[in-house]
Symmetry: D2
Subunit: 300 residues, 4 copies
């Protein structure tokens, strides 16, 4: 498997009692399967992974692999705080039939992270889990940046196929693209910097806004690849606001509100996350509609 193309990091649907709602997941999958995406990420940051139990995550992997029907790749976020749990969840994920797994660096004891300890962690996971591993750099949540030096060292591991970098540090992303092996995929971790990431060599991206506008995201990629930089740039600039709204600004609660607005299942978040206020819900709907109108209008 090569890490390339367009992925959406999907939210985990909960019912009114706060439990995972597999019917809602199935409902969403019916729509996602019609989206021009290569795959989805489940149990990532957008999937409220730290708020799910081990069995919930394992169940989600089984359901997702089944619902994908082989028509779409599934990348399973397996990071747990301990190496042993990450490995165990990774094995569950592999047994469920997901295509790859996504792994954050350890970050609670960030003061004890060293190049050696990070390599040991990722190598143990990659050696123990029988599906490909994707590294995941997400400093705004973890408070820790995965240094390109370590990424490059890991990039030659036969079972580590790429990285999702959500840092937004475009020079870091460029350096990884330049120095990693040809078949190591580098993904923009946000729709807010998809085009600049492609410009420095990324093989694709996984982005919150793809839950809503996978067609426009795919359009950026296609426009870039066929050399229509002007269109790619206009799409990129216009898509920033709705992407920021459902990521940095309002987080998963914002994404779920936007999904509700579009007719997909958003539903409640799990505390300590709180739903957005009605005012924010209205603001998000407005940002969504504005992009929708631009994309259906001047950028159609």
């Amino acid at each position: 498997m090569r890490l390339e193309g367009l992925y959406a990091p999907v939210p985990t649907p909960f019912n009114d009692r706060g439990d995972i709602d597999l019917d809602a997941l199935s409902f969403n999958f019916d729509r996602w399967l019609t989206f021009p995406m290569d795959g989805i990420v489940v149990s990532g940051s957008n999937g409220e992974c730290p708020l799910l139990t081990f069995p919930e995550r394992a169940g989600l992997f089984r359901a997702s692999a089944r619902l994908a029907q082989g028509k779409m790749r599934i990348i399973a976020g397996i990071h747990c705080a301990s190496t042993r749990e990450t490995v165990e969840l990774g094995r569950e994920a592999a047994a469920s039939g997901v295509d790859a797994v996504l792994v954050l660096p350890p970050h609670y004891y960030k003061g004890q992270n060293t190049p050696g300890s990070l390599a040991a962690y990722f190598e143990t996971v990659a050696d123990s889990v029988p599906v490909p591993v994707v590294l995941y750099n997400m400093p705004s949540n973890t408070g820790f940046n995965l240094d390109p030096g370590i990424v490059l060292k890991l990039s030659s591991h036969p079972n580590i196929i790429g990285i999702k970098d959500s840092s937004g540090d475009i020079v870091q992303i460029a350096t990884i693209c330049r120095d990693a092996p040809e078949d190591f995929g580098v993904f923009a971790g946000s729709g807010s910097f998809f085009l600049p990431s492609l410009a420095v060599g990324c093989t694709g991206g996984t982005m919150g806004v793809a839950n809503l506008f996978a067609d426009a995201c795919r359009d950026i990629l296609a426009s870039f690849r066929k050399g229509d930089l002007d269109r790619a740039r206009r799409l990129q600039l216009e898509i920033i606001d709705i992407n920021q709204a459902v990521t940095k600004r309002f987080g998963v609660p914002g994404l779920k509100a936007a999904l509700d607005h579009t007719g997909l299942y958003g539903g409640p978040v799990r505390p300590p996350l709180l739903p957005v206020s009605q005012a924010v819900r209205t603001e998000i709907a407005g940002i969504y509609d504005r992009f929708n109108s631009i994309y259906g209008g001047e950028l159609s």
Copy 2:
């Protein structure tokens, strides 16, 4: 229960297979019960809490409450990423007979933390768990500082009895001491700034170095209380190096190495944490011995 005096945040002992070693815990308790401490914190940062499973933590609470024999307070670190798991673990802790619970602020989705969401989290926990709650501010691990404004708002909750502040921000600590209700305990969260924290009104502290030199920590407190500032200051200055060695510099692996050196059970850490190197082990032993010699010599 008032939060006051001296506590040690104890490590969780593992055997060679990486599982919790209750015999080693019992061995350590025999020693800790002879220490001049008011209590211990289990399943805190020093206890590798994020690396333990829910059942392991519950088991640790039961064992600790039993081993303490009512001679020492037990504060149980119950923070989980989701509110529902924190509450559930808190109820287990209470049922086990611990005296209080320690709770971090939510921190993975730190960008979504607001005064309202933080209050909702802590109030839900404090309303649901039938033993007193201690707030826990630990920015170097969580990447998030719990603002004094929020602490003060929570300080009037009848089931929130205090805070452990490991930030080292002495003005913040002073402000909380000044404005919180009389019976709200404020603990220095590190032995490196115990005396200055006492000077601004802290009611005690919980500190890694108390695992090793509870007598010297108690001595700082007693010297301060009886007005022997000169002795308190000399002890404080000398104890910094060994405290930093087993916290900020070498973390839990350093603390366990120091315990091994003293005849307590340190043992292995759980990956992704790695043991300290032999060179660091020797350095820690040297720092330990130096303080031990000073405390047994010129400061005896």
Copy 3:
């Protein structure tokens, strides 16, 4: 000269045309000379030093040394961005009769600072300026922290007599107090952490609030020295708000507004600094009056 006792970092008075107002300076000196202080700092951060020209600073040194009449120490802030200007201004300061000079670390090219380059800078200044040098650590303005390792190396230089540390990092301050030579003065750089700094061994402090309440600051020092920790603590806690108001919260504009409120000369700030709004002016007056009332009442 030993660096010890209580200093006020005084503002630079400007007239309505924005020029230095030596009459106002003289007016303020008449009052400051009645304050229980050991000295004042001119052309420090509170003195708007970066906004003054070289000749203005030199003129300020001459005027201050003359106005002090030998009754009070004058420490002159001489830091310029280039070594050669710092040295030249230091020589002017010495020729003017000031008692010591205060020097920040270089900070615009902070990425190029190394232990060696910092040592070279401070040693050149200390070797070239014929009055004692005080180091000045002020990370909130410079964006750079002067590491204790470097401070300790410099502390043995015969012409470097101490440090003003405004970082608020109490463990760092404690470490310097512990390891520097006996005659190296360590000053708390803020009235918000004066007492905890004394508790770990500081020899005194220089603090914005001393411009307003030198008597209360002196009282903290005296109470601490005679072992009345309870009084020292109550004073420290109460003084934080007015000190924060004239430093961190509202800066030099806040300090000048407070001076105006007390009958000293505050006057305008120099742009790009802007005066505080009328609402903030009223708030500062309220904070001032509250402390004044406490200090004249329950703490008298």
Copy 4:
């Protein structure tokens, strides 16, 4: 004047006594005039601006305007800490015949910066200086990021023609490109992210590496504009190392060492900056030669 194309932020040459060497400047100009650049920036960060006196900077502006012979634009870095000095130096610059001026946000009293104070500063400068003003965001040196909201507000001022953004925050740069008026130029402030900045709409850039390889920088711009993204990307990726070496890693001392290596005049830096070591000098030469060989070889 529109802010567009390629600029080099040039160093200020000093002779062995540490004074500005106008002969060396003239020698360098003879070469720069043959470079495919639209202009140069004098007295910017690379020009050691904070280490120069007011008269030195004014002299540099006069010399540069004369040496440019109207064949190349000159942008003069005029930022001083006080508004009045910035304005005065800006007027000197305008009188000297420079084409535009470059202005940092105030940053020593960064805690007092507000949208209103920043607007007041830049508007006063733009209203008072009779040549166009370019904003300059350089957080790694100033410790302060100029928010896009403020930039956009200022972008409609008739005498503010653009911004040099060295933050590397590609989403911020994209947002400014999207929302600023059509004729507002946005410059990548580093050669390390030139192509991604062009991809989101930048009108050009000013970059340390243009002092060495203006032809390759121009090639990135030209390749991008004619749609040869593949060539632009390969150039961008290869040029990062030499650009980082003469900016972030080794700073102005590194740039001067590289200039010495190429036959231009680099010469000494002004303390507190120190020259790079011989080992670093050799490393920089190696990085330079490697790019030179790639650019003359596979990328020729």
